[in-house]
Symmetry: C2
Subunit: 557 residues, 2 copies
């Protein structure tokens, strides 16, 4: 959800940002040396709208500030902010770093802040073997409190927006009709959606466990949405551990650093997600039923998932089973009244940690399972409608003028949502195409299809646009152009495989949202913790970032 989403982002693709920890191979650096070339005082008028909104002052000096500048609470947002992890990061005593590093590694091991080691063959299948600490930043990243509050406030609004959009089947089908032609994956999802529409299938109990990702744009001083995950929002389990790790480190060493652990906001993502799942289970109202997690065959990020279901079991006494889509196809059946049985066990809630990428559907078997699930009366997290609502194309549609107004009533809410949208255009606007050819560094070309990780930057933007202009191919429909976001690059200590790397890094804030409603009323609609991810920013201006992402938390300033 949320239009656009440039992507000088860390792993903003669904495949990466959602479930796997390894960054996608072709992500891109946000070299800080680009910044001097841009005038941060100018304004990107109307660029967060779609092609219908023509930029009025687009020139070689691009206006990066959107038209609503100053309209909604810009006073706070225009205050100088810094993403530096610590003002004195260069000055920290080496011995202190080493002590904190050792303590942090120990803390991670004792508290289950772990992932499967990619060097271990069995680590993606068997829990308890081949474990290594999850990559993490040694210290929390500074984050201005006003932006933090803004991101938190947006969570329940996005929850509601997803729910409203999901109910408009015609809007989803119409908006995605062109995408359907160029993207087989979305096409298959749409087929299932169509069948449900034909059947008149209604999801009366709806559960959403979302994560909206943002970056702070140095140019516009705006919190801009990168993407909103409506399926497989990852790291609710590990994110709270990194928060606790940082609070513990600052509790013990904060005095030496001039930092106070109280400024790291509490994080209860996994508890709130587990509670929402438990409440959904209760709504379904079948005491012997279980929750089913749809998983990939191999999953090195399994401990993040295990944390969620550990809390669900220990705190709420709700049991869960793990199945691949292929297993659901093999073992699943519907009772005459629409209940889903898998291996004879009734499933009340289905939580997807797979199924968001074409790779998860290697055969018809997986598609049959997805259809079976959708046909059942089990609560899906997400339903096919929620899933489609999170596609890039729908995000683009929602950014068109007056579209948000079709789904949200509250004008303040609409303004808040619109304010975090970055610029986004389709390739049928010749004027934008021309500007992008002239200033490719200010745009990102993104393929419409899911899976991500194939974004195009810099000179490649120019070359691709020239080719499309010349050939007049159908390819134009397969891409969108997006405003490029320039987050601040800061020196950071990134820990991976027990080794501390000091490097220049950028950060992305994810805010979780949980939503549950039944036929009568909304039961849960809340912001549910957060995830900070920090990624090495390559200094190779024209190249592709080889850097890696780590889990982080925030230090409010």
């Amino acid at each position: 959800m949320g239009v656009a989403h440039s992507s000088c982002a860390l792993s903003s693709s669904a495949a990466i940002g959602s479930s796997s920890f390894t960054p996608p191979s072709p992500t891109y650096p946000c070299p800080s040396q680009l910044k001097p070339k841009l005038d941060s005082s100018v304004c990107f008028s109307g660029l967060s709208r779609t092609t219908q909104l023509r930029p009025t002052r687009l020139s070689s000096t691009l206006a990066l500030q959107p038209p609503w500048c100053g309209a909604v609470g810009m006073e706070t947002q225009e205050t100088e902010f810094s993403l530096a992890p610590l003002s004195g990061v260069h000055g920290i005593d080496q011995e202190l770093i080493e002590t904190m590093l050792y303590d942090a590694l120990v803390w991670s091991s004792l508290h289950g802040l772990v992932v499967g080691d990619r060097n271990s063959q069995r680590s993606g299948r068997t829990p308890g073997v081949g474990m290594v600490h999850a990559p993490f930043a040694l210290l929390p990243m500074s984050f201005p409190e006003s932006y933090w509050r803004q991101a938190c406030e947006l969570a329940p609004i996005f929850n509601e927006l997803v729910d409203r959009v999901s109910l408009d089947g015609k809007f989803l089908q119409d908006s995605l009709s062109r995408t359907k032609k160029v993207d087989a994956f979305t096409s298959k999802l749409l087929d299932i959606h169509s069948k449900m529409l034909q059947m008149g299938k209604k999801e009366e109990i709806r559960l959403g466990l979302h994560r909206s990702d943002y970056m702070l744009d140095e140019q516009t001083k705006l919190l801009l949405q990168i993407e909103l995950n409506t399926i497989s929002s990852s790291f609710p389990g590990l994110s709270i551990l990194v928060t606790e790790l940082h609070r513990s480190l600052l509790h013990h060493y904060g005095e030496n650093l001039g930092l106070d652990s109280k400024n790291v906001p509490h994080n209860s993502a996994v508890n709130q997600f587990a509670e929402a799942l438990a409440k959904a289970w209760t709504e379904y109202n079948s005491p012997r039923s279980v929750v089913m997690i749809i998983v990939q065959t191999e999953e090195r990020n399994m401990y993040d998932q295990h944390w969620l279901f550990h809390v669900l079991k220990e705190k709420h006494n709700v049991k869960a089973i793990r199945k691949t889509l292929a297993e659901v196809d093999a073992l699943g059946e519907l009772t005459p009244d629409g209940r889903l049985l898998v291996g004879g066990q009734e499933i009340s809630v289905i939580y997807f940690r797979a199924g968001y990428t074409p790779n998860d559907y290697p055969s018809d078997s997986e598609w049959r399972a997805r259809l079976l699930i959708e046909q059942s009366m089990a609560i899906k997290c997400p339903s096919i409608s929620y899933h489609l609502t999170g596609t890039k194309k729908i995000q683009q549609e929602l950014a068109k003028p007056s579209v948000l107004e079709r789904f949200l009533d509250n004008k303040e809410d609409i303004a808040k949502v619109r304010k975090c949208f970055a610029g986004l255009w389709s390739l049928d606007d010749p004027e934008i195409i021309q500007k992008a050819i002239e200033n490719p560094k200010l745009f990102v070309m993104k393929p419409q299809r899911e899976g991500g990780g194939n974004n195009i930057y810099d000179e490649d933007v120019r070359q691709n646009l020239l080719r499309i202009q010349e050939e007049g191919t159908e390819d134009a429909a397969a891409y969108i152009l997006m405003q490029r976001i320039f987050p601040k690059v800061s020196p950071t200590f990134l820990i991976r495989d027990g080794i501390c790397h000091k490097d220049r890094a950028i950060s992305e804030l994810g805010v979780y949202g949980a939503y549950l409603r039944n036929k009568e009323k909304v039961i849960v609609n809340e912001q549910s913790g957060y995830l900070m991810r920090t990624k090495v920013s390559s200094s190779n201006e024209g190249g592709v970032a080889a850097g890696f992402a780590v889990l982080d938390s925030i230090y409010l300033t």
Copy 2:
């Protein structure tokens, strides 16, 4: 401490039982098929005493029951007991086993029940990398409550006994004078001890963190002590996790198994050890001082240690540093008033998780460090006297008639201690030698020297005794003969490297004890949690057990 200690035991050597998890290579099977050859109703009169006490009815049908049979609470101990993990272990549903196995592996990973993987090169040095779940038994081992209470009651008595013996420098020196000639390691320890005696050095604040290990002997129906560790008592951290793991599994699956999690006694070993360390730190009374852990260069069982110092830091706000003996030699110094500084930092308490085996002293450097530590006013856990009190030879001396009476006042306490001593003899008793040659299966030959793992069983006992008789060598002083203990062999599920092995196993109960006193009074003297270890019992009667040990807990019956 505690005489004797036969050793059909799992890793009863200091090197193994204390700190490392891998069982010693030459341990021995307790084949259950041997049992029919023994008459469990007969009595091993006086055999728990030393050579001075001549067995009265020793014949080809050996009397396995000690002379105090029936004297002290034998009513309860003679009731039938079972070490079977579950009465219906064979009948457990395979699917339930697999579910519990998966859950247990997840639980271990999330809760820091981990060790360094021996397949990972860095796992012994760098925390957070190359982790694997600690080997564990899937279910707790049955243990009769009366024996459990007996073992718990013994803990504070052994604590006091160690303290009293440690104060009698002449007793230690005299008792170990022969050992000194055949064992270079003990000799070096004695040299340091002599120097302290000459200096008139007194340890006014004394801290002991002990673990007394027992087995239930099927023949005598007695709880018999295997050994008492006065240095580097390992697994206070991981043992409580296994207890919690078992309680969690029984909470969720106990109903299917007919087991109640309430029957697994709570375990707070790590909390009590941390509290004792914190109180020692307080007694030393120097707020800026830290605790120092003496560690080996490589330690795959580091997380057990980390748990202890994590609790010390988080709960008691006492910091600790980790140093090898070589590092202490390089960085350590004494102030004129006897304070120990290491790298300029004052050390209040020294906790040894290394230094118990000759391997930990590869050069003079380590011995210099040990001497430096001993000369300092820091609180040693253990002091050289406590360390020596835990040697096999002292255990043997204490088992001689009237020796316990020199150190303990309370007659009931003396009786309780004596009751758990197994039979132990030196090789200068021709009658016992003859009996052992005739019935080698009922004895174990143990070398006096520390390090263990070189025990001699069965036909090898006969061959070695015959050789010693013939050659009349000095070797006789290097060995002791011990009553062999026959613990019950039970089918058990042992989990290692994510794989569940169903095998025949024997178990050993370790009960922790914490003791702290200053010049005026005893501050802590308590039983401090427990450790159950279960080990595969090879069915190869004449061979050496290739089995492995796992962490376990107990199920009171």
